[in-house]
């Protein structure tokens, strides 16, 4: 592999990793905060992509879609938590069943309303061309994805470490009952968390749609990818989602290129390998269960 190709493939890998991080961030947040494995994450992602598709078809505005989709899906998440999820707090298996149910309902409603044709979101104007990097053309949209992923990670890090909300999140992850005992309205905090997690899934749907496509079944693909990332990175920590994306993206890309015959199973081999060495994931912690 020539140096030029290596650089291009490295960029491919990093941008794929950034997409994976954006995809997994919402799932990781909800799990870390609420101890809920939200299997409707893929459906929220899909809903975000279809909202963006509708907005782009009606107005031609990708950026409007990127704003509207998380707002609408976030509102849905904000409603689902108190109406449905709250009743099952602490009952893990029931939560899993509920979120699967929600994802099936959302998936089928999208099929009914938007149809079951395969669709594609065009690259937004201004980001649809390529720029020369080391003798080869490189698509600007993928550079934008890298920048967006980095910005999101920085924003998370800032909120997490420096803000009051971040302090509440850190406290909630450590010990939610104690936080409630200290007078924090835990119901409101959980509803907000679920809403923000859903909104993040929708953001991922909009950002990924021009690359991955928009089609029935995309929810399942996205859910599997995000589960892989959070498991590899470490369950429930945002830095884990970053680490997961940063490892899986480039490893998968170079694996596909260097060992094409294993491309199919490669991403799962990475998961197995990481879990063998670090059963809690790269940055995972042992949770204290009482």
């Amino acid at each position: 592999m020539s140096p030029e190709v290596a650089v291009q493939q490295a960029l491919n890998g990093i941008s794929f990793g950034a997409l994976l991080f954006i995809l997994a961030a919402g799932l990781s947040l909800i799990f870390g905060m609420m101890d809920v494995v939200n299997l409707a994450h893929g459906a929220f992602y899909m809903l975000g992509a279809y909202i963006a598709l509708t907005v782009v078809q009606r107005t031609g505005q990708f950026w409007l879609g990127l704003v509207l989709a998380p707002l609408l899906v976030g509102a849905l998440g904000l409603a689902i938590e108190p109406l449905l999820l709250r009743r099952l707090r602490g009952r893990h298996l029931d939560q899993v069943l509920l979120t699967i149910g929600i994802s099936l309902v959302i998936g089928d409603l999208i099929g009914l309303i938007a149809g079951r044709e395969i669709r594609s979101l065009p690259f937004p104007a201004g980001l649809d061309h390529s720029v020369p990097i080391m003798g080869g053309d490189y698509p600007v949209y993928r550079l934008f994805v890298i920048a967006f992923g980095l910005a999101l990670a920085a924003l998370f890090a800032f909120v997490h470490r420096r803000s009051r909300i971040g302090a509440l999140i850190r406290a909630g992850v450590d010990d939610a009952p104690m936080l409630a005992a200290l007078g924090v309205d835990i119901d409101r905090l959980f509803a907000t968390t679920f809403g923000v997690g859903a909104a993040l899934a929708a953001v991922a749907g909009v950002i990924a749609a021009p690359v991955f496509g928009v089609f029935p079944g995309m929810d399942v693909d996205a859910l599997i990818y995000s589960l892989i990332v959070v498991v590899v990175g470490g369950l429930g920590t945002l830095s884990g989602a970053i680490a997961g994306g940063a490892l899986v993206g480039p490893a998968d890309t170079f694996g596909k290129v260097l060992f094409p015959q294993f491309a199919l199973a490669l991403i799962f081999a990475i998961v197995a390998f990481v879990l063998l060495l670090r059963p809690t994931g790269l940055l995972g912690r042992v949770r204290i269960v009482r």
Binding site: R116, I118, P216, D221, V257
Partner: protein, 428 residues
Amino acid sequence: MTDSDTSYRLSRRKFLAAGGAVALAAACGPAAAPSASPSAAATASAAATTALKPLKIGQLLPFTKVYAELGNSMKRSTDLYLKQKGNKLAGRTVAPPIYEDEANDPVVGAQKTQKFIEQDQVDVMMGIVATPIAYAVRNAIDSAKMIFIETNAGGNSLTRDVPNCTPACKSKYIFRSSFSSWQISAPIGEYFATKRGVKEAFTFVADYGFGTESAADFTNSFTKAGGKVTGSLKAPLGSADFLPFVTQLKNQPTKDIYSFFSGTDAINYIKAWNQLGMPAAGYKMNGAGFLTEQDVLKEVKELANGAVTSLFWAVTLDNAENKAFVDAYQKEYNLLPDVFAVQAWDGMNALDLALQAVKGDTSNKDAFIAALENVKFNSPRGAFEFDKVTHNPIQDMYIRQVAVQNGAAVNTIVDKIARVTDPGKPTT
């Protein structure tokens, strides 16, 4: 999952309702509802050989997951055909077809096929989009002696003599109204080498049975005609990110790329192809026709401009049957038919003509098979007949090139390879 659950519940409800109906009507003759218990069905079928009860068609199609729209398209075509014929084929009333969701899963497909055989006792089964499902149910269909008209899955083995019948082989009871992957992959190889003077090609296909078959068939025929395949690359089915693969394509010197992808994969591939500036760098996208079929073309539009593919049909094909078909389909559904609609339409047309030959009586299986083998008609794709040996269609292949006309990307017909017949056994 939800769809299949619903349809199961609905069919059970119908089943119970039918139970009552059949019990009352068994003695009097034809029952309009699906048969209930095996014993009631046996009574009904004994009476039916003379009275010709309504023809039962079981359609196994995907209505969920990524191939859902293919299933919808084929259902629309089937319903339109029956509507045009007033729900009667060869004078025999046709019961509303029983649609089941294959869910792109061989296990589900096998269960639903078993339901057609045992519970519904259909006269003819049709459908199946994915080759692995067709392979998985081949033996069940063969031993149940149920007539099956495959309306999409193109895996070569389904209509061939294959050693040990692995992964599948032809059956007396199985006909195919679509194509074999050899038919859409091999002729274009020879065409490139002889008619276009292409010396070298590189293959890039989806890494599953059909894609591998397509690359092998192309490579064989291109090499035999004097061309050289300089390398190959495969991408897993449903690869989210095509950029790493296209980067590899761009960093090898052969300009003519032969590809097999369809649906979402084709869209993502074509977009990545343009993002990396492949057309400007002199690379040419070619492939089997599904790469640029309408579902893909309406999303990628001019990005596919110039791609050369081979398929047995294009919506622009200029013949009377195609015009009538496209008009009727557009009038009924307000959208353009796709190649999957044509395959289902031809399946129904073949069934119709064979039924006419046996005067609507499907009870003599051998006579009905002979009638299907002798079916010949003008389809929207041109002349259509089954190869009597393999039951795969003998059909013309069109070489199509994507061009932008009046602001819309369409497949224009640039050449034709007449009467393409599958070799009927594995090629080397």
